[in-house]
Subunit: 356 residues, 4 copies
């Protein structure tokens, strides 16, 4: 897409948590005009009625939820965000693309390159396998150049972002054995979406912590796809999600075996420097990756509401393992902020526009 | 100690979270009479003044905090619980034992057999190394017979209990490689004690999740000691604690490499059955260990307020790993309930007395 | 009912929050045998499957949810608890009573004496108006003698208990003007029941505080009925509930105009003493009412998990008002504990049996 | 102050919750350059070290906490914000003013016009009574014109803002009896400041709700001062704060007696319209006051992170009372946002600059 000053944007499925966060970001974005928001449930109501918190925003005036209609939306928006459940998003992508819109999909529908893997992990056939080759995995820190020319961006999931950003440089630089990776992840409840289910009631989540989806959570498929790309061969890893009682935030703690054994202090210092160098090379100029050196460790409260991923690591001389920890806001860098970042790349806006 | 109907008990350091929980349990225990509670800070005040929630308990009448005095306490109590910070507990143990009291220490002071390991992990010399050989590690599921004849019981920490109970049977039965163990643990904030520190303020913990103490938390020392005992050789493992915004509860997620590789469905079923058998043998008759078979996974809300450890496991055919998860209440099975359980064993009371 | 050692009890609707709390209390009660629990949703499943936290209770073995059948239940239980939504409970009461069971209803169905008031507040005709004259409002501190001979007990709501216990003595003793009462109440989310509704999702409640049901919440009707009884004439008051992000607990802050104006220090001291005397007379021997004198104010964390109501008051010399504050656990004294307390009274058990 | 494009600003006491929020707002403000932040505790450390969450802000580079020095600060900043405990702020105001700085004080030090009232409520003599006549109470919705020419602004407290914004129009327009006002307020824990005290530990606040400071909280003094100004005579009201387990947010529920009795539907409709008109007149053009008409009631989650006050009201035909509810973020409209709003007025910037 050629660079311009401003684009018209629309959100299909603007009443879930990711959709709501997109509304927040796009209302304040200096280069976007939010022209349409859709929701089957709230069609006809104004944004202020459904989300009173946006009522005072000067750019919110007149925004009203409509029924989703690809043809109409494509006329009024150059970029359309899909913030829909997986399986539903695919239905909208094809007609939107045909009508010339650029599509940024926050669901899992176009993240996997293989329709077979999709079926293995999502338990049904992919609804639009012909688009899988067309989509770009929208992790700007890894796929920035491909995003620039894309028409269909599959924005990564929250868990995958929290694992891939810290892991890919180390895998790419052959510092760790990819198949050794164990990712233990903790997520806030908004990650489950705005769904009226008993499991996500306040009383069921407050004062509760629990693993789930072990050992084969759906997000594992896209994590492995991207790690395999970085490794140059097929990689299978361990991934264990847990639900914790916060609204937002993910902590992923990764356990990795370094390629090279270290035992002396000198070997440890050397490996430590190589890890630091790997991160500096990968992210030294990235506006949204914060490598913590020194004592601090990641904390979700330092990233919530921002598009930043925090990363820290520790080598353990006793066990020979490397531990890498990351923190991000599952609704921003893990969903809507990342989608906006991809839009910035795609449209030639400053990459931090609307995000800092 | 010979069996009797009832014992007089005292608590030194009854105003912290473990002490408060001990008060709760001992007030309702059918075989104990709580004769003394001490606290330097609250000496002179009644239990009802310091903890209004106990005011209505009929056995709470007249209980008043006093300054700790080992000689006096040993006169009025056969069993004395120490719920003090590590380092402080050791000062009281010696005189109490000399005066004939049985001592159950909830601190870390007598958990390690090696004064050298103590110094390595606690950064100062052990204050009473001559007692280390005398103390028994008070995990009844593992050391019940030794507890029976002990005079000094070192009650295990909350994290160690959550790791050792699920890990020891598998290590003992040679089903897993001990040195492969990675324990990723999540703890509620009461685990940090009732300390006026900025890090544990509501606003600093709520909507925050964070790793800490990585890679060498103090509790690692007792975990490794007990795993080494079970393995028959020295074992070093990975242990990573995280702070999560709940009052109570620990989830430990363990990653283990099975001794025997499995790849076919039959091998996996066989290993699965051997794990189940190992747990059944170890805990089939244990009143406080709940092995979850079928779909459910551990959840802190199912154990909070109880002395139960929940355990579940999954084999991952893709990675060849075993994942074991446990849940417990850090103030009950992780501290005060476990201490009461040890007292029950020690005094010949029904092991579940006052705990169900 | 004539005194006996033990009764068989059943719970209809044992899978909601009140039902679950009843299970907890009745499993540990020394004078009850829990013979049946019903739930349409979970019929056929064991208690341990639906609520893993009860699995270790020795008296839980073999308890399985069944479909509710009044005739069968009345055969196997002398006392039947109804923990059902309002409107549904009434359907079960009649046949249970006909089959000779004693019924303790935790819903609002039999709390009002007037079918007309019921219709005004619940917006439909009462399903069994002929039973309204038979039921006893099960607030033991106020209606103990009537409870003793009752066959149908309407156990009070959580908000009403938090308002009536502190207000009735002052109204009865003519210390305050009843119509001046303003009750500002705060409730934990379990008060809304275990219902899969968006409003009660974790993310919608956490970091949220909100008034609702203003100015005419349904519970107002029973509050006014009981205050009118105490005053000897019809009373209308102000009642404003708010939802706060805790699992359990109610704080009610009452604003009242004293009957007698006070302005001098002596008048204030005199009124203060008369209030203290009123509470001592009413509750001096009550096992579950804790009058806080001195500095402490009520705090939900001091009553959660217990059947206690905490009460404190302050006179304001500047405004001439009396402020009374109460705290209780909405699931215990506000629901299931209170129902068990009524059962104890009804069956001639010690009133605190199973509750301390 | 004459209008200009940009001002240099400094924050004294930038490490508390209000100070941290000021940093957030001023870093993103289009018309300010944050030149200095002070903190005795953190002097010498960078902003990124103390608050990692700001590390990625492009305008944060090089900001380092310094010791507070009025002379130096006044040289490098035209506007200085004081985010200090009450009593401490006054020490800095005088020298800053003498050196020509404009001072916006977030503490209570200059809010009261009467040194006598200050002493009554704060229990010590005012440290700089000569400045009380000079300061302007920085509630822009009420005192905008005075703020324009001020050199010392006393930014209102969080509770007062939540009471005054909804109450003043009704008092000014003689729609309610001022002395009838009862304000029942609920506040998140950040209102207590970043202080290492047991009462504000996570475990003491989570799952706890409690009244405090009843009946004479310090904030009452400024509430009454401003209501008296609006009424034209001295007014005393009731104010009851409560602590609730959220990080941010205040709900105030006000009970008021209308000046004119209403009983018929027509009278009620008339009064309702007069209230609506009063609010429209007062706030129809205010960018940060949101009057909710229709069904919605205030909810802290709709204002958190914003400078907005939400207001709704209900007339109760049964009791003849008016209930007004408000919601705001205690750290934004209740502290730092309001201070920035005052700065915008003072400096001639758009009033919403940096706040929407």
């Amino acid at each position: 897409m050629k660079t311009r000053d401003s684009v018209k944007v629309a959100i299909i499925g603007a009443s879930g948590y990711s959709g709501e966060e997109l509304v927040r970001l796009l209302l304040s974005h200096p280069n976007t005009e939010l022209t349409a928001i859709t929701s089957r449930q709230y069609a006809g109501q104004t944004l202020a009625q459904v989300f009173p918190k946006f009522a005072h925003h000067p750019r919110a005036k007149g925004l009203r939820f409509s029924e989703p209609n690809s043809e109409v939306l494509a006329k009024h928006a150059q970029v359309v965000f899909l913030a829909l459940p997986h399986g539903v998003a695919a239905e909208f992508a094809m007609p939107l693309l045909q009508h010339g819109a650029l599509v940024i999909d926050l669901s899992a529908d176009f993240r996997l390159k293989s329709a077979e893997t999709y079926k293995e992990f999502y338990a049904h056939d992919h609804p639009a396998p012909e688009l899988l080759g067309k989509s770009v995995y929208g992790l700007p820190e890894i796929h920035r150049s491909e995003i620039k020319g894309a028409s269909l961006i599959a924005s990564p999931g929250c868990y995958p972002t929290s694992v891939l950003v810290p892991a890919i440089p180390l895998v790419r630089d052959r510092l760790v054995k990819p198949e050794s990776i164990i990712a233990n992840s903790l997520s806030g409840v908004s990650g489950a979406g705005r769904k009226a289910e008993l499991d996500y009631l306040f009383v069921e989540c407050n004062e509760s912590v629990r693993p789930y989806g072990i050992p084969k959570h759906r997000h594992l498929s896209e994590i492995e796809q991207e790690l395999s790309l970085a490794a140059g061969h097929t990689v299978q890893i361990q991934f264990s999600p847990h639900l914790i009682p916060v609204n937002r935030g993910i902590i992923s703690t990764l356990y990795l075996a370094p390629e090279k054994h270290f035992s002396t202090a000198a070997e440890m210092a050397d490996l430590n420097e190589r890890i630091a160098a790997s991160y500096r090379k990968a992210y030294g100029n990235e506006p949204f990756v914060r490598i913590l050196e020194g004592k601090p460790l990641p904390d979700t409260k330092n990233v919530n509401g921002t598009n930043v991923v925090e990363i820290a690591w520790r080598l353990d001389a006793r066990t020979g393992r490397l531990i890498v920890m990351s923190a991000l806001d599952n609704l921003v860098k893990g969903a809507s902020g990342q989608a906006v970042q991809s839009m910035n790349v795609l449209c030639g806006f400053p990459e931090t526009a609307g995000l800092i």
